[in-house]
């Protein structure tokens, strides 16, 4: 986009890339927020950022028993990074309507250097009919287990490295959507008081998983896994209503929010037409026969969080079930599961420590198990700053054939991470 600015003595022209537009809008909104600071319905502008240093030691051992072959390799790396920064905008439009925007910048974002990414994670309008009935419309994080709604709110979490399926640093390894609904576009939700409890409910609908969304190729053409003859837009979901996301959560929590438990359920489809998402090391030989289809998927989640004195607990379980005739016929197990538990203890109100244990089984035709265990702590320096440290061991065991009929490969990957960082509320 080219803008031309004319003054009496000169003519200045400048380019504004698409990515700059939201930043300029943000600046204008911030100016408005300052102007309206004394007004109750003023725009609220706040944010958070997390800066980290991490040290990583990796070891991989590979064995092919049939060939008597074995090898191993190690690597050490460490880096500083601005892990994430979020700018939030919230406006109480009137007594019933509230608008909310979350702009997320990841990993030292620079469009010039092609580092990191910027994205709109949430942008929604909430209509409050009563405390029991709210309607949320727009791009939103749907209610699923405990963490999904705050998965990118790093400042609210004591850890630097989130449970595996929520951790964006691993987004190339774990497809988050295989386990959790990333976004929805309409949600009805509310809380019903009963005695010392609230009953929470949420039901939502959204697009099919992100891999169905049409994208722009470098040459300007539109890439889609569905019928390309009718595709003329990128960034939209061209799938039929059948493939869309539908889900909800039902839970209870105490009125003082010290204990919360819930059950979540979603139905959508896994896009097995997109073979680029399933390279050989992710989808085993026999299971590659399933490519080219839409796999009906049900995610079942259970969450439990609580506090008892100085102890606190976060637990999540996710089971991903498929109903794919072809997989049944070929006897290929494609279910997935994930469990995460964190047990914490507040040494003093400003300092908390915790230990975490996570387990996942990434079947999808593969015999692959992974464990994560570790511990960490966070020190609330003041109302805005928290210093965090975390030690994590990731352990993955894989036994399978990369292609049908080939020999079995056994692979063991062990990565040790040390994270140090600060969370800052803006």
């Amino acid at each position: 986009m080219r803008f031309i600015l004319r003054t009496k003595d000169m003519r200045i022209s400048f380019d504004i890339s698409l990515i700059s537009v939201p930043l300029i809008l943000l600046g204008m909104m911030a100016a408005t927020a300052t102007t309206n600071a004394q007004v109750d319905d003023a725009l609220q502008l706040f944010g958070s950022m997390q800066t980290i240093f991490f040290h990583q030691e990796s070891r991989i051992d590979t064995d092919i028993p049939a060939l008597g072959f074995s090898s191993s390799g190690t690597e050490t790396r460490n880096t500083f990074a601005l892990q994430q920064m979020d700018i939030f905008l919230r406006k109480e439009i009137d007594a019933d309507f509230t608008a909310f925007v979350d702009l997320e910048f990841q990993l030292n974002y620079s469009s010039d250097q092609r580092w990191g990414s910027v994205s709109i994670q949430e942008a929604w309008l909430n209509y409050h009919l009563s405390d029991a009935i709210n309607l949320k419309m727009g791009l939103l994080f749907p209610a699923f287990n405990h963490l999904n709604e705050i998965k990118n709110r790093l400042a609210l979490q004591p850890y630097l490295f989130r449970p595996l399926v929520y951790e964006r640093l691993l987004s190339r390894k774990f497809f988050a959507e295989d386990f959790i609904p990333e976004h929805a576009f309409f949600q009805v939700h509310g809380a019903l008081p009963t005695g010392n409890w609230f009953v929470d409910y949420a039901a939502y609908a959204g697009n099919a998983e992100a891999s169905y969304i049409s994208r722009s190729a470098p040459d300007g053409s539109i890439i889609t896994d569905l019928n390309p003859n009718f595709e003329f837009l990128s960034g939209v979901d061209p799938s039929n209503i059948k493939l869309k996301l539908f889900g909800g959560r039902l839970g209870v929590r105490t009125r003082d929010e010290q204990f919360k438990v819930g059950l979540s359920l979603t139905h959508d489809y896994n896009n097995l037409r997109d073979s680029t998402r399933y390279p050989g090391h992710v989808l085993s030989g026999p299971a590659r026969r399933l490519l080219g289809s839409d796999a009906p998927r049900i995610r079942v989640g259970q969450d439990l969080t609580g506090r008892l004195g100085d102890f606190w607990l976060e637990f999540e379980a996710i089971k991903v079930l498929y109903n794919l005739d072809e997989a049944d016929r070929l006897s290929i197990e494609i279910e997935q599961s994930f469990f995460s538990g964190v047990l914490g203890y507040d040494i003093i109100p400003e300092v908390t420590t915790y230990a975490t244990l996570q387990y996942g089984d990434y079947t999808f035709g593969l015999d692959s198990d992974y464990f994560l265990y570790g511990f960490g702590g966070a020190w609330r320096v003041n109302d805005a700053i928290s210093a965090k440290a975390q030690f994590v061991v990731y352990d993955e065991q894989f036994n399978d054939s990369p292609s049908e009929g080939s020999t079995v490969i056994s692979q063991h990957v062990c990565i040790t991470f040390v994270f140090l960082g600060f969370s800052i509320l803006l």
Binding site: D40, Q44, F46, S48, F88, R90, E92, A95, D96, T98, F100, D102, E122, W124, N126, H128, S130, D131, F141, E149, I150, R153, A155, L156, A191, P193, N196, F198, R255, D256, E257, Q258, R307, P349, D383, L425
Partner: protein
């Protein structure tokens, strides 16, 4: 000590005790536009955990808090929740867009002034701070 001096001292002592009692009592105040006229501890907890965002007449609730002090401690004890817990809840509500956290005031006079001038406003102060104030309503007393 004469009888009149003793009577004077006794009256002064009683007045002192009465003033002290007036200062010690914490009260919850609302703007007169708020339709609810009395609150239980459970209802106050819902308001201060931001679980209740609107009054019965549909107007938004604006919550005021004190930065520190004995009155604040008494009020939080009444709610049965710690300051750290409330701050954790407020942060989660704020960062998920569900509510704005309470506005934190440095002194009780500011709380009274803000509740007086904010439709739907609620706050807590010592009873002394609202003596003679006509534009706020006392909706709960905490000893």
């Amino acid at each position: 000590m004469t009888i009149s001096t003793r009577i004077f001292s006794f009256v002064a002592l009683l007045l002192g005790l009465a003033c002290n009692s007036l200062q010690a009592q914490t009260v919850v105040i609302t703007n007169p536009s708020v339709p609810t006229e009395s609150f239980s501890a459970k209802e106050l907890l819902d308001v201060y955990t931001l679980n209740k965002a609107h009054w019965e007449n549909g107007s938004r609730i604006t919550v005021f808090d004190l930065k520190s002090g004995k009155v604040k401690e008494t009020f939080y004890d009444h709610l049965g929740i710690s300051e750290q817990e409330l701050q954790r809840i407020w942060l989660r509500k704020q960062f998920t867009g569900k509510a704005r956290p309470p506005r934190s005031m440095s002194n009780e006079d500011d709380v009274v002034r803000m509740v007086e001038s904010t439709p739907g406003g609620i706050g807590y102060v010592s009873e002394r701070a609202v003596a003679g104030k006509k534009n706020v309503r006392i909706v709960a007393r905490i000893k």
